[in-house]
């Protein structure tokens, strides 16, 4: 895919970048832009090249072609590669990478070596305050919990006031509870400090919580670069639809610009779906598009069920050979094998 950006209000510009290790291409013709004060996200399955792209922006991996610039300054282009230490880009690592031989204050001050001593002390205090660890200056990394270590790593990366912050799966080593607490907190800190950033993750909840724009990557390419809402509701291609959230593809015949005939009946969209009458297509149905209604004329047999507290997620068999996910109210507890009524609540159709 090709994209063009107006470079005037963009901060980080990645333009047509390809990266290869020997003969093996890892990232291919990738373009994206992160605006001032924005947080972007690279989301994709493992091995899709998202971490490699991040490391190229940091300056640890050379480019094969394309260019990367930050605030108008070229970081890398073809053969030119600005040294990592000269890029003014901070980074938070997946394995935390705190220096084990120096204390927390020295870790946070590590990037402040050009600053006067008094200002260093003040900045360290300021940042530890920001990440909720004031008073931890004299401790050593091994004496801190995993979540505390990651907060220190964030403080350390932000201390020199970098013009951009890279976050390489910083939450993947933490347990679910801690992650839920830390992810929105880190997003809030970055926005408060007005530091633009790029997060790499394979967890869509993290991506949706923190990022303004999300790039879904697959096999070294960006499949879609969009807001979280659009990624979910207007996926650009089967891969994105399938990778983000849950859902099913149903074969259907296109009957008009806005409607299709499917095994579960006549479905219509509030806007043109992009296919013309007579074509064969597949319609993508999300679990939240299928609701349970006891007196609905359409029925399905329950194959399995998952109780999720606020609701049930049923797997139902309809029209003999189609399976769909269906949301039901938490009180509608049905048995496996039971026939239940379902109702489709679609305002737009996702056809592929």
């Amino acid at each position: 895919m090709t994209m063009s950006f107006d470079s005037s209000d963009q901060h980080l510009l990645v333009d047509n970048v390809s990266i290869a290790y020997g003969q093996h291409t890892i990232v291919q013709d990738v373009s994206l832009a992160v605006g001032v004060g924005e947080i972007g996200c690279l989301l994709g399955p493992s091995g899709c090249g998202k971490s490699t792209l991040l490391r190229a922006i940091a300056g640890f991996v050379p480019l094969q072609s394309g260019s990367i610039s930050l605030a108008g300054k070229t970081l890398a282009k073809d053969d030119f590669c600005l040294l990592a230490e000269a890029r003014d880009v901070g980074m938070v690592f997946q394995d935390v990478a705190l220096f084990p031989h120096i204390n927390i204050a020295a870790n946070v001050a590590f990037g402040l070596h050009h600053w006067p001593k008094a200002e260093q002390v003040q900045r360290v205090e300021e940042l530890l305050d920001l990440v909720g660890l004031s008073g931890y200056q004299e401790r050593y990394p091994h004496a801190l919990s995993g979540g505390q270590q990651q907060r220190v790593a964030l403080a350390r990366a932000m201390a020199p006031k970098p013009s951009f912050l890279l976050l390489d799966e910083p939450f993947s080593g933490l347990d679910a509870m801690l992650r839920e607490e830390l992810v929105p907190e880190v997003g809030a800190i970055l926005r408060q400090e007005k530091i633009p950033g790029l997060l790499v993750t394979h967890d869509q909840t993290e991506a949706f919580t923190m990022a303004d724009h999300v790039a879904v990557m697959n096999h070294g390419r960006i499949e879609q670069w969009d807001t979280a809402y659009n990624i979910y509701h207007k996926p650009d291609g089967r891969f994105v639809a399938d990778f983000i959230g849950e859902g099913d593809f149903l074969a259907c015949n296109v009957s008009s610009d806005t409607c299709v005939e499917s095994p579960i009946g006549h479905l219509c969209s509030d806007r043109p779906h992009g296919f013309s009458a007579g074509q064969q297509a597949e319609v993508f149905i999300r679990p939240d598009d299928v609701l349970h209604l006891d007196d609905s004329p359409i029925t399905g047999r329950i194959l399995s069920k998952r109780f999720r507290g606020t609701h049930f997620l049923y797997r139902v068999l309809i029209a003999g050979n189609q399976t769909l996910f269906c949301f039901a109210d938490s009180h509608h507890n049905h048995e496996i094998g039971e026939e239940i009524g379902i109702k489709l609540s679609l305002d737009h159709l996702m056809l592929f």
């Binding site: 490391r55 940091a58 000269a86 901070g90 394995d95 031989h101 590590f110």
Partner: protein, 541 residues
């Protein structure tokens, strides 16, 4: 880090140099010809072979019998004194085999205190009674078993400790008694580690020169010396060395194979062993005796005897001893610095470009630790002598004054041999230190605006300091103890403590050899004490 390719090329050149002696000896493996070789083949070679095999068989049995029970008792059972015994049984490692050999000779000889006491007690005279002849193949087996069993002990103990408690618990849940679960599960699971320890001990057995020479047992190493000095035939000595090398290669393969299996056998998560088998009463006495016996005979008795000789009977120490000590310590120090420096360069090269050719060559450079000093000495001597003679020829062609044997006849040859032999030890320590510094630490430093050199000085140096010091110290001690390579390669009239102690002992001046010997043993204690508390998984020195 550095210039990427420059460092790799440099490392490959170093590794090639270090591998040179082995390649030289290997080239003689297929040159089995010459009059002397035929003569050796007809006369003594079968003796060398049989004695070396018997020695390996005997020492192998000995170290297993001493090493496995002590490891099992100290890691699986609880009895009084278990804690201090579990490291005290390592002390015999500080005792070089040739030193314990002549100490026991002094104790057990006809004129020694034990036999004199027996005669005084019984009134018997010479030839009236039978007494164990220490200077024999059997004696050599006992001496070497007493100082080499810690290799088996260390490996076996590490394996026992690594086995997760749950595998024993699974055995119990399937109806095995705890003792039976231990015997039918714990011991087989530790077998690869035990075999790895055994092959290390056997490598040392094959490398030994001092003990077998002193006891008059003809093996490959004494044969190499005799051929080299007696017949002055370097080629035949190299052919003998090549035959010995073939043996060692088999042991290396066995060791590597066992180590690989040992990895598969050890549990992924090792928990602290919570439930030791408590031993009470008679069982506790037996356990303590089993651990105390090798410690007594392998360290306490010979060390006490040496100390007694050195303090009360030896000639007072004079300038000769000071110069011996100076020679030994300065030589060992320089060798240690060289080995550590090369180890740092090779480790960084492997870290920066972990490509196959670099890795393979560095692995080859690490072979030396398994090779007997005699093989390395001959392998160093042949190319250096060739270089020397080429230089002399070159000088003569231009009518200049001959430089003499500036390489093969100087300390250069000795330092080269030490580096080949002990680089692996330094490499192991430095590499494990460097491995702990994850690449993300470098990246974190650089993303905060530090140059590669600043990262080395601010992050690597402080984090690596202790592993580099360990490398220097271990090589230092090993060089101090080394005997056969020093005997062959030392410059004329240059003596070290190890060489002098050996020479005095060979001249039956056991008492006068004691001061240098006790010094070597005391310095040798340092790395053993360092092992205290941390049972190392790699080859302990």
């Amino acid at each position: 880090m550095f210039k990427r390719h420059g460092l790799s090329v440099f490392a490959v050149v170093i590794a090639a140099f270090i591998s040179l002696p082995v390649i030289v000896i290997l080239s003689y493996l297929f040159k089995a010809e010459g009059v002397l070789w035929q003569h050796l083949l007809d006369t003594v070679l079968s003796d060398y072979l049989i004695n070396s095999l018997l020695l390996m068989l005997g020492v192998g049995t000995g170290v297993l019998m001493l090493g496995v029970p002590t490891a099992w008792l100290t890691s699986m059972c609880s009895f009084p004194g278990r804690r201090w015994l579990s490291w005290a049984v390592l002390l015999p490692m500080a005792m070089p085999a040739y030193i314990i050999a002549y100490t026991y000779t002094g104790l057990l000889d006809f004129a020694g205190p034990i036999q004199t006491w027996i005669r005084d007690l019984t009134g018997l005279g010479y030839g009236d009674y039978w007494f164990f002849e220490i200077r024999s193949l059997g004696g050599a087996i006992v001496m070497m078993s007493l100082v080499l069993y810690p290799y088996v002990y260390l490996m076996a103990r590490a394996a026992f400790l690594e086995q997760s408690v749950s595998s024993i618990e699974v055995g119990c849940s399937l109806g095995y008694s705890r003792w039976r679960a231990m015997w039918s599960l714990a011991l087989p699971m530790a077998r690869p580690a035990i075999i790895a320890g055994l092959s290390l001990a056997l490598m040392e057995t094959l490398a030994d020169y001092g003990t077998v020479q002193y006891f008059g047992v003809s093996t490959f190493t004494t044969g190499i010396f005799r051929t080299f000095y007696g017949y002055g035939d370097t080629a035949a000595a190299a052919q003998l060395a090549a035959s010995l090398l073939a043996f060692v290669m088999l042991l290396i393969l066995l060791e590597r194979y066992s180590r690989r299996r040992a990895r598969y056998h050890s549990a992924s998560e090792s928990k602290a062993r919570a439930d030791l088998i408590p031993l009470m009463g008679r069982n506790a006495v037996i356990a303590v005796s089993v651990c105390l016996a090798p410690l007594m005979f392998g360290f306490i008795i010979p060390a006490t005897q040496l100390l007694f000789w050195a303090v009360f009977e030896a000639e007072p120490l004079g300038w000769e001893f000071v110069s011996l000590a100076w020679n030994s310590f300065s030589l060992a120090f320089v060798a240690a610095i060289i080995a550590a420096t090369l180890a740092i360069i090779l480790s960084y090269a492997r870290r920066n470009r972990p490509i196959k050719p670099v890795r393979t060559l560095i692995a080859m450079a690490g072979f030396g630790y398994a090779l007997p000093g005699t093989i390395i000495a001959i392998g160093v001597l042949i190319p250096l002598a060739w270089l020397d003679h080429s230089l002399i020829a070159l000088f003569e062609r231009f009518g200049w004054h001959s430089p003499g044997l500036i390489l093969s006849g100087s300390l250069v040859a000795l330092l080269f041999a030490y580096t080949v032999r002990f680089l692996a030890v330094a490499l192991g320590s430095v590499h494990s230190g460097l491995e702990k510094i994850k690449p993300s630490l470098d990246h974190a430093g650089r993303s905060m605006g530090h140059s590669p050199w600043a990262i080395i000085s601010k992050i690597h140096v402080p984090l690596m300091r202790s592993s580099i010091l360990t490398a220097v110290l271990i090589v230092f001690v090993d060089v101090l103890k080394e005997l056969p390579a020093t005997l062959i390669l030392r410059p004329f009239n240059f003596n070290t403590m190890a060489v002098r102690a050996y020479e005095l002992a060979s001249d039956e001046r056991l008492v006068d050899a004691a001061p240098a010997s006790i010094m070597i043993v005391l310095v040798g204690l340092i790395p053993v004490l360092m092992l205290h508390g941390s049972i190392a998984h790699r080859r302990p020195q």
